[in-house]
Symmetry: C2
């Protein structure tokens, strides 16, 4: 793995996206604490994941206890619960990296881009938390369906946005641990691109009957491991 | 080619993106009329393109004359000129498809997503023009640098947004004519995703020293020509 084993809290870790990320991070050797409003539900989900993984990598707790125990906190709750969950665990976030995967989907029209007036759901959280928490936006475009199928590689790159380059680099390392190529994609406001893109991918899934469209970044010679034509 | 030869006006066709698209569309067999504020400049640019193409596929005119002569109008002017150019040619657009490639870049921070308060620069134009013009958003993520190099294929997919599915389908056909895979990406408001993504690609170009990063859509079995695993 590209980073030392970390303890990673996944708030909303019993949901589709959260459990997919938990499985992959557990498989990669990290310790995962699923956070939920319901600690018993989180513990039950963790037990199932450990069964699938064949070892005890995942545990369950309340969101607050999970955030308190973790080196890095990941937020995977629905948009409607994003703000309240962050407020709930705020004290436990101080000095940590918060990886926010939130997509501002507004049901029922989830295939329609509906970014908040502030421009980005994740940028709003960085503004709320201030400089004592380094918020990094990532994993919005990675299909939960694909993440949960451990037999298959996930054919999707990750756009990593945040105002702190060192924090972005750590998240890029975590993505690499679970087999995903991730890119420095600019400051936290650039999260708008990844958030909006998720509704586009949902629209593509509906139109083309795909269970989980994704994106690849092309044309970056360093990542593609080949010299630029004519360079 | 996937569509009959059309006459396509490219407003701002002497610029980087516009001239790249003009060259590719001319090469594909379409008739291209470059539009410019300066008809003589457009004619000179058209002459150079015909030299490169080895045949007379491209002509030059004022923006208004170009739009009037065309079956389909494409807008490739800088963001600051988008609104005024549309107002200028408005009468000539009636009943036509307007392909708007505009990205709301706000210099000097062009690697920073700065979508307009209305959410999308292209959606604003659809609202302005009303139902008599079918506005389609496309080509925002395709590098001008890559388009202009006719020796190379362009490794980038195209997100096509618009409120009229038949108009989107025509634009997808034009993209195919120049070798690009294009996708129905939802209603015109979804253009926000493609517009925001361009600033992310600029950020990636700067960070990774790429001359023209792009995107590919993954996980769509129909387009990848292979059955879905387990399907």
């Amino acid at each position: 793995m590209t980073s030392r084993p970390l303890t990673i809290a996944i708030l909303g870790g019993t949901g589709q996206e959260g459990s997919g990320l938990a499985l992959r991070l557990g498989k990669a050797g990290h310790r995962v604490v699923l956070g939920s409003r319901d600690a018993a539900r989180a513990a039950a989900a963790a037990g199932e994941m450990n069964g699938a993984l064949g070892r005890d990598a995942v545990s369950g707790a309340t969101n607050m206890a999970a955030a308190g125990a973790a080196d890095i906190v990941m937020l995977t709750v629905p948009y409607a619960a994003q703000h309240a969950t962050v407020e709930e665990v705020r004290e436990a976030l101080r000095g940590k990296i918060l990886i926010d995967t939130t997509v501002p989907l507004v049901p029922p029209k989830v295939a329609r881009v509906q970014l908040p007036p502030e421009g980005s759901a994740v940028a709003v959280i960085q503004a709320l938390l201030g400089a004592e928490v380094r918020v990094v936006s990532a994993f919005q475009n990675v299909s939960a369906h694909r993440l949960r199928d451990l037999e298959q590689e996930v054919d999707c790159d990750v756009l990593v946005c945040g105002d702190d380059a060192a924090a972005r680099e750590i998240v890029i390392g975590l993505a690499a641990d679970i087999g995903l190529s991730a890119y420095h994609a600019g400051p936290i406001c650039n999260s708008a691109a990844a958030e909006a893109l998720t509704s586009v991918l949902i629209a593509i899934n509906m139109r083309y009957k795909s269970p989980g469209a994704g994106i690849r970044i092309t044309g970056v010679p360093e990542r593609e491991g080949k010299p630029e034509p004519g360079a």
